[in-house]
Amino acid sequence: MSESSINNSNPVTLSAYIEGIGLIGPSFNDWPSSQPLLTGKQPYQPSKTVLPPPLLLPAAERRRSSDIIKLSLAIMVEAMNAAEVDAASLPSVFTLSNGDGYNCHAINAMLASDDRQISPTRFHNSVHNAAAGYCSIATGAMTPSSVLCAHDASFGAGLLEAMSQVNVDQTRCVLVATDTNYPEPMYSVRKIYDSLGIALVLAPEPSPQTLAKITLSITDAVADQLPDAALEAIRLSIPAARGLPLLAAIALGKPVSVVLDYLDDSRLALTVEPIERQPC
């Protein structure tokens, strides 16, 4: 993170106003209580991610919901409540580097066995847009939903898509970036050891709910690391956590520049300008 300007490889910039944040991950239970951990005001000691039950879902869907669905719904609702927006009105961008790893493992194990009769629930939970589908059922949102994957670049790809929607379609949207862990033997080839999710409500114009203005461009600068070793380990292990430096920058509450990891040959440069929330 720096207060100096960044040399960008692509001159185009996109801006948006962040109105709400949702965060769940190792020792992160929500955005307000996570801020002092991200700024270093409180020591960070990682503990296993705790996912709240998906109370918004109808009973049948609640029974079928896996970790990635619980995580996505919880952070999305937190961000939308903070932004004071109607959940059913928001277009959404879901980005995840993997789907439900336990379900994937179970299907592959069954298909390699003598009994290949996988269950309907296993099958429909295997689609990459399962969490997006469950979330729209939970909130009643009939709005468009874009569901993305860019492997380790998934957070950056989702942020680019969400910022494009805000700028081109002049609409609010909610970005939901999540990852959950794989069991063995998949874990050995995809070492995501715990769940983490970041949700952002982004708007084209400032409002009384605005927390910060962000301006994005594509850069070849090196991605910022997190100063705390345990936090940095999470950033590197869980693709959705590539967005944590942005949240740390917002938590600082002063104007800063930050470079987020994206593809092998390009990163995302962001300037973050905090905006004092207006009293009601």
Binding site: R64, N108, Q117, H128, G133, P144, L148, A150, A153, R190
Partner: protein, 397 residues
Amino acid sequence: MKPLLLSHFTVTSAIGCGVQQTLASMREQRSGLTPCNFDTVDLPTFIGGVSAVDTIQMPDRLADFDCRNNRLAQLGLEQDGFADAVKAAVAKYGASRIGVFMGTSTSGILQTELAYRRLDPVTGALPSDFVYDKTQNTFSVADFTRQYFGLKGPAVAISSACSSSAKVFGSARRMIETGLIDAAVVGGVDTLCLTTLYGFNSLGLLSTQACRPFDIGRDGISVGEAAAFALLERVPDNSASDAVLLLGIGESSDAYHMSSPHPEGLGARMAMEGALKMAGLEARDIDYINLHGTATQSNDAAESKAVNAVFGNKTPSSSTKGGTGHTLGAAGGVEAVISALALQHGLMPAGLNTRELDPALGVNYLLENREQKISRVLSNSFGFGGTNCSLVFGRAN
């Protein structure tokens, strides 16, 4: 929206490698569906396979990407001079000004299915030659496409089940309008795998015959595989009269059920209305509808209600899945190219395999090819999770 030019496009599916074979199959009303003989699958169903995929060799530099899905991607992008067109676009715009937006539902999951048959009997470990990130991961086919062409712009896989490669047009349109990129390689690739065949079987959605969209006796889908690509650019001042433009995109969600469409087709209706609105068109301006038309009871019933609500029952319509099978995450891209061919060649393709139209559906469903000049086509793609996308394409003149 500002229209975008499909400056080049190609499709490879069970009805042909490249547009010439595809067009010939459409003219001959030839289906590519055959009884399922894929791998060790023991299901009484039909598939739309692309046998040429077995002959594809990946270049050494991309060897880690080797899997059926990326082989089919390579087979597809080497048809119709598409690769040369992308190289020309790189020379024109620069590699960092071209984005990649690829739709897929199952990516290279077949590679993982096969690897699970070779787990270490003692440790349970995956075989050492299994490369997760370049094969199974959903991004794989977008990453492969980007690296095949040496592109440096933004890249993403869009994976919303069977709307995936229709939705790529929406994301590419937005990013071109931001000015971050000047052109986009968009498309969809999905290949046969056990997950989808046994998965659809578990839902009772696999036809025992070659699928029969909109037939009174329709009994489910035939799974197919395909690769479709298009190069999207801003419309130049002068384009050929038969140039194909993307005019509008409508996207919506059902918010209803994970694997059944909204029974009244409400989400589908919103997508079609949204596409017309973005194109600045009325329903009467559409000459032909390429239906999602999967041949499941519920899809065809819900889609016909939605089409009726927006268009009435006169607009010529058909599903081309009787020829190609349901190519899932590639279907939107395949049917975008078929829509482009329909516009360029004045050919509204017949829906194949359908013998007796379901009178309850009330759609002007074409059972024979109709040849006449047409100006605008709407193409529907809907998917699990209640995801809907409609595209409107038109001739430049």
